[in-house]
Symmetry: D3
Amino acid sequence: MRKNKLKEIWAGGGAAANGWLSVPSPYVAEVMSHQGWDAVTLDLQHSPIDIAAAVPMLQAMSAGGVVPIMRVPWNEPSVMMRALDAGAYGIICPMVNNRADSERFVAACRYPPAGIRSNGAYRGTIYGGADYLDHANEEILTFAMIETKDGVANLKEIAETPGLDALYIGPTDLAFAHGHPPKHDNFDGPVADLIAQIREAAHAAGIRAGVHATRTDYAAKMIADGFDLVTPTSDMRMMTAAAAGILEELRAARE
Amino acid sequence: MRKNKLKEIWAGGGAAANGWLSVPSPYVAEVMSHQGWDAVTLDLQHSPIDIAAAVPMLQAMSAGGVVPIMRVPWNEPSVMMRALDAGAYGIICPMVNNRADSERFVAACRYPPAGIRSNGAYRGTIYGGADYLDHANEEILTFAMIETKDGVANLKEIAETPGLDALYIGPTDLAFAHGHPPKHDNFDGPVADLIAQIREAAHAAGIRAGVHATRTDYAAKMIADGFDLVTPTSDMRMMTAAAAGILEELRAARE
Amino acid sequence: MRKNKLKEIWAGGGAAANGWLSVPSPYVAEVMSHQGWDAVTLDLQHSPIDIAAAVPMLQAMSAGGVVPIMRVPWNEPSVMMRALDAGAYGIICPMVNNRADSERFVAACRYPPAGIRSNGAYRGTIYGGADYLDHANEEILTFAMIETKDGVANLKEIAETPGLDALYIGPTDLAFAHGHPPKHDNFDGPVADLIAQIREAAHAAGIRAGVHATRTDYAAKMIADGFDLVTPTSDMRMMTAAAAGILEELRAARE
Amino acid sequence: MRKNKLKEIWAGGGAAANGWLSVPSPYVAEVMSHQGWDAVTLDLQHSPIDIAAAVPMLQAMSAGGVVPIMRVPWNEPSVMMRALDAGAYGIICPMVNNRADSERFVAACRYPPAGIRSNGAYRGTIYGGADYLDHANEEILTFAMIETKDGVANLKEIAETPGLDALYIGPTDLAFAHGHPPKHDNFDGPVADLIAQIREAAHAAGIRAGVHATRTDYAAKMIADGFDLVTPTSDMRMMTAAAAGILEELRAARE
Amino acid sequence: MRKNKLKEIWAGGGAAANGWLSVPSPYVAEVMSHQGWDAVTLDLQHSPIDIAAAVPMLQAMSAGGVVPIMRVPWNEPSVMMRALDAGAYGIICPMVNNRADSERFVAACRYPPAGIRSNGAYRGTIYGGADYLDHANEEILTFAMIETKDGVANLKEIAETPGLDALYIGPTDLAFAHGHPPKHDNFDGPVADLIAQIREAAHAAGIRAGVHATRTDYAAKMIADGFDLVTPTSDMRMMTAAAAGILEELRAARE
Amino acid sequence: MRKNKLKEIWAGGGAAANGWLSVPSPYVAEVMSHQGWDAVTLDLQHSPIDIAAAVPMLQAMSAGGVVPIMRVPWNEPSVMMRALDAGAYGIICPMVNNRADSERFVAACRYPPAGIRSNGAYRGTIYGGADYLDHANEEILTFAMIETKDGVANLKEIAETPGLDALYIGPTDLAFAHGHPPKHDNFDGPVADLIAQIREAAHAAGIRAGVHATRTDYAAKMIADGFDLVTPTSDMRMMTAAAAGILEELRAARE
């Protein structure tokens, strides 16, 4: 089975740069898979992408050398199994609030006896290889999102869930749930403290930690702080940020 | 009928900033239509976008306040009429080599007696308004691309075609056809001279001139040089440029 | 944030006319958004429309001035959050049987601390405006469908759910569940009584009531009876009714 | 090969009622195919429908018992052959201006030696039957649209083109081209005269005549006048007309 | 209402041959519906097909004379009701582990009072007929998949669920769950015994049994053993098996 | 630029096995790209595939190691340039009847000065590599279909067209045009003679010859006869042939 490059990066002590896709377009997916990201995540929660749209995106990313991850919209077995069957090498599950949630999440991603995943990885075997079934439980990564008060309260129990590979932080929901303004890139303040606490809990449990960002300097700081994976921006933010800069420059030139 | 803002900008002596879309996605189109561009062009020549994909993109751009333009893949009446029926307010036609080409192009975009456009603007009337038929010949812009040796040789005749509104320059094909490396952003050299020649021919004929670019400073220079419309970049270039920058910054931070 | 016109109509003592879409087509959606409806609902329960198809429909409706509502297929958080992220200004949830159901429904539609909605309204902010997050809990409407015996039995408790804005009636399921023929447009009889009972319960609880119809005279009567929103027909019924009439008229003319 | 019911209707002295589709939706197509139309035409000229969208529409109409016709966007062999391969039993070709146009049109629709149609009717054989190749040249109907000054000038020559089955009239383009307001349903006046002239030319040449309408009484009159096929409305007009009526009735009831 | 041919085959003592589709393509569906299968199942669990893709597939199969079945991805009411509304005449539900699971499954497929299915079979009435509502509970088949240890342990209780029509076996998950290699076509051994046990339990409870295969000889044996329905292969396996054979033959010829 | 493996096979004296796709599905394309074909052709002439559908198919084939070829529907520059921009490494052009046709075909596939292809290979550079522009004229193959009387009459002139790489034979159209039954797999007879004549003309002109088949033994014979590329079957034929065999075997077993 094709190796999961994130595991190799982590084994080597490195941190991974994760691209983020919200446009349901195989063309965007293919281009992004050739830019140098270590992984690229398809967001099925806060974007128009659904499983049907994701499949040709995963296909278009196959030749690009990035680890394909999918953030599912909810902790539901059907969507997670369908994401994996389509060839995802990692699942980010939102709103993991307690040990039961994380166990349910992990079970959906693992074949028996470790879990309840149903056999039929129609594209997993194309992308992963003929021996997919033998190694999928090891190669496929599970990321539990900690973004609620309950999630923080049950941090240790969640992080110690057998088969869980990483915690992933969505800073705006985390802030929101704790009564703070839902902002990204919290260099300091109470949300920054929560983020550090989650990262430490992951590492204490022997698993990895990832975090979402919108500023590159913040993403760089998160790597320096010890995060194993950072998502520095998204496809759409790259476009809107660039457009703003270009149009301002043109306007200035016209005046 | 809804006014064509490009005509208003030009009447006021201004130059227009034109966005450029190659991703067949209404989501990208909608977001781009809210960034401040004066016009946004859907490229049906060198991208996966076709008419069927363009229609929901035009719909998604309706509320955004940009002038919707379409570059068609070829000087064929059917695709131009279908683009206009769908609500395009401007057509950029590639490979206009002589007066016959430009007349054929313009005829396809104009209702009788000015041209041969067939009646049935199913979305033109939604976007443009109930009196679309009365004003379409005036509001809709026609851009002939000059990008071959023949096109340059017949510049004056083309520019003086009745009903033609503008010349548009694709610098790489223009360079290619004249034996130069197909590059954008020609600040000087023989391709820069050709570009200036085309701009001057347009203005001499009393029509407008537009040009494609990939660098904002070049686009700004083109405005300074007198171009009426510049396309400083594309959706995909914005993403790839941003990704390159972010990943380099992250890599530097990791080392 | 863009105001919800239904709230303005209701504040002014008016009743709203709601269009109903079952064809997964942005073209139908755009045209329907320009016909004069106060709101237009996309039905994701009993039609081929799903979230992926709904997004370009919502985009196509943006310029039309109707309040975009979505009926979701089931009381599941993921589909409701995805509908809202895409820009829906109201959710109709089927099969709300008790207080727990209605609380679960409302929670999925409200940001913390009122609910558990996750942050990431990728299109909500385009359609609603940059301050979407500040006002979404107030502007977005929640309609609980009462259509089972349990739903009727728990009417008061459901209607008094904090954050619930309205009850909505699907007369055929309501009739079915109570052992009556599943018909629309119940001018009188036991189903009419149930419908009146639900409307009264809504108003007693200080919330709104809406009802589904297929005949305009019935819809008009429902407004006269005090309903705050009526759905007099659907896209498909309009077509089939018109076709039947036209073909009968032509046949008569031929004989 | 499945018989073409239009030919049977005509052989029996009848006139056909033709439905008209502009929404690219197999759901609309399937429903419309069950309403009692004799034929249903997919419009690929003035609508978002293209060949790719038309194929599932034709499939959805297969069980409905209507003759599937396609109006192509232009007199181009490739789109006509693709329409036929997909199972169309009739082609309406716009803008036939002279004998060369009509010969080119007919040739594209006929297998050798009658024409140049290429073999490969991947869906024609499913819908038509295993002996499709033996009878396609007889069963498939060709409708040339007369809608320009040239078309009227060359009426006789066009109508006498071997292999042409019918003339079809788009009244708005016809009016437009002759300097009249582009309106449907011309009960009298110069456009009505042109329409009668075309009908008579068709019949004089021993072929059929069809006409487009938006009012049922006009369509009925056209049948009474001797037209062999009328299109009394379209999918979209049925919806907008119904919506206008319903909303007016509701508004009146509210006041 | 159109009769369910599987019930007729079974009433006549026959066994049914079931085709299996994993390609989201109406073209494949239409062609497959004309090959002579008694039923054709659309797999929404282990394939890219989702409800939106399934609808045009069902439409394309309408004229082909096969019973349309859908395997849903999970025991969730919404997807089952949407599958039925779209015209499925049978549902295969994976991972039915106990009586509560099977009751939940059956309830979602039956109108009140037998179940909780919501009224609105927008395509069921087109495909099934105007009296769909009167007979749907009888004509539509429910297949519970037995493929876990719990499922086997609760075999009798599941098989005796009122309204359940059949058990269906996915041999690889069944094997997997019992610690055996996940293989199809178990002619003998412990998985073969489990399969026989499930078939016998179905028949003891007076319901039907179906089984998945990849080899025709195994499928034939299963019929001989008393299975009521066999799925001998899938669309994709037919292609890959044929390609392997053809390429080997060509290679041999070249050497 | 990625090398064209067909040229390498031919340089080594080998013959290529070409797969053939008519299902517009990236899933089928991806699976087929892993079966061992040397090349896989997407048929845009006699199938529902169009350019928009072809792009994700090409993407899905990227990792599979087959040379992606497209048969275009007609000798039109726009569709050929769009096919190449999307990453096709070969174009099969139907109905090449004379030297002018073949020159027009080749010109559309070659950058200046060899041809008139417009610069903008948005996916060609992803699939082919950054130096695509420097080598595309050499790596991309052009196949002219000889399938009419004119085509045979002008065989030598066509075959000698500068820049043309191969002739390709569609036996059914070739037979049709010469008054023979349109059949594949002509082991002998007048169509077999024509096929041999075309192959010889190709080789005499120093270019390659390819042929379409439906039987593997015929394909093998064609290789033995000296053809450089054979298409032994298509995706759809593989399915229908397999289904026929399986169903016959099952039926026999049941009796």
